[in-house]
Amino acid sequence: MKTLVFLEDHGGALQKDSLGVLSRAVSLGGEVEAVLIGSGVDGLAADAGRFGAARVHVADHERLGSPLPQPRVDVLAKLVRDGGFDTVVFAATVLSADIAAGLAARLDAGLNWDLTDLVEHDGRLVGKRPALGDSVYVDVGWSSSPRIALIRSGTFEPIESGGSAEVVKVESEFEEFSLAATMLEQAHEDSEGPSIEDADIIVAGGRGLGGPENFALVEELAKALGGAVAATRAVVDAGWYPYSTQVGQTGKTVAPKLYIACGISGAIQHKVGMQGSGLIVAINKDPNAPIFEYADLGVVGDLHEIVPKLTELVRARKAA
């Protein structure tokens, strides 16, 4: 097995998810190499070695300065063909998803996406992916080479295996159509905190808060954790919080690593919007609230006391 792992960088560092995917590829065995594409990215190559890549291909070109997918497809296609890779793995982001699909078309290669695991089984590479709102899991595979995989964000943890990688420069050749799209303005970090769609941590408030003023408790906890604030349909209906934060059947669907539900009963209309969350913590004073059936940690108690205390503890912990 000869695997190529796409390493994505942002803000001068390699993305944690990319390194996690690299670690996983290493554990699956065979030859594992990485690729870094951008402008002025040479300095990041060393990290790839620490996480197990035997070799890092670096494509450094000014036309690769903007995070656009199509020029990257050109680079990868040539590299995969020239290097004889049978497997290409990406950690899913808005950018890498476009790259992976473009590459699949270019190479007529199978692409399985939204994978939450990648294993070897009976000599075959098998991916696991959730379907139907995370209520069912499907085992998927590839019937030809190369095999392209898109791994869901937050799936694998980076594991240092302490090595160093050979750095190889890659010449970049581009198709004309790949260079047609140009970036006029690049996004910058939002100082207001993540939106609920992108947040890793969400603190949500429901009717149990008692009144709109108590959303302050939710906001404080979210701020302490570096997360976003969400709301249930009932409180949005009542005008306590804006519709853009509504999670549920008639609102948004989110799947953060951590979802803390404060004063939320957890009826199915809400559940379908957040059941894919990594961890669910629920605080509710009603011991029979449906949410306790699927919360990883359920706390029966008064959120008006527990939430501020938790906020304090989190702040103290982070300061230490």
Partner: protein, 259 residues
């Protein structure tokens, strides 16, 4: 200006979605409808056509014969034509095969702009537009929350994890819109009544010059092995607050390495 919108016919009534244990694929035998996210793309196409003063909006879809009925919603909103690729040989097509079919159908239309919706409600995360853009050899802008057109160029505000990029591309181009881009119109009664009379064409793979082996299951490069239950969430722990609940939660979060 000719705008093609790639629309998907998906099983309706989310409450009843199920995977067929035999084929391990989505049971598509029930009622279906126009994918909700593609309605945003149809709306955007109509707005561009209206802003430009003239043009044509064509709906291109791959699906069973009965998909035509669902596509009528787009016609009722104001789209001009539907082209449905319907062929048994296309069944079981994965991303590689589907993009091949759509690209062929789109080349036949030669549109100035191709629009996609954000995702299909039946297989979240599909990135079909990037595959199609590559086959058509056209510039791509995805996750577009705001779109404008001036002369022969389009400009899109692209939503990423970090905020918005602004990207420009010359026509012809491929654009994938996010559901934040617009609030789709309700079809007027006149529109609903007129929909049936608008041209609806069904084409087979042969018409597109595609052979059975290039598409369908034979032309796909991925496969589904088995269905299973989601990994157990782990035991659900339930505690009662005796004054130390906040500490218990913190410990839990540390234990699970979330903070």
């Amino acid at each position: 200006m000719k705008i093609a919108v790639c629309a998907k016919y998906v099983p309706d009534a989310a409450a009843h979605l199920r995977l067929d244990p035999e084929t391990k694929r989505l049971d598509r035998s029930g009622e279906g409808a126009l994918n909700q996210f593609d309605v945003n793309a149809v709306e955007e196409a109509l707005r561009l056509k209206e802003a430009g003063g003239d043009g044509e909006v064509v709906i291109v879809s791959l699906g069973p014969e009965r998909a035509l009925e669902a596509m009528r919603k787009a016609l009722a909103m104001g789209a001009d034509r539907v082209v449905l690729v319907s062929d048994e040989g296309a069944e079981g097509s994965d991303l590689v095969a589907t993009s091949r079919i759509l690209a062929a159908a789109l080349e036949r239309e030669s549109p100035d702009l191709v629009l996609f919706g954000q995702q299909a409600s039946d297989s979240d995360g599909a990135v079909l537009w990037a595959a199609v853009a590559d086959r058509l050899r056209r510039p791509l802008i995805s996750q577009v929350a705001e779109l404008s057109r001036e002369d022969g160029r389009v400009r899109g505000k692209r939503q990423t994890e970090y905020g918005y990029d602004v990207i420009e591309a010359p026509l012809p181009a491929v654009i994938a819109v996010s559901d934040a881009i617009n609030e789709p119109r309700y079809p007027s009664l006149k529109g609903i009544m007129g929909a049936k009379k608008k041209p609806q064409e069904t084409v087979s793979l042969g018409v597109l010059g595609l052979e059975a082996g290039a598409v369908g299951e034979a032309g796909s490069a991925t496969q589904v092995y088995a269905l299973g239950d989601p990994p157990p969430r782990g035991e659900t722990r339930k505690i009662e607050d005796d004054g130390t609940a906040a500490n218990a939660i913190l410990e839990f979060l540390l234990e699970k390495r979330v903070i």
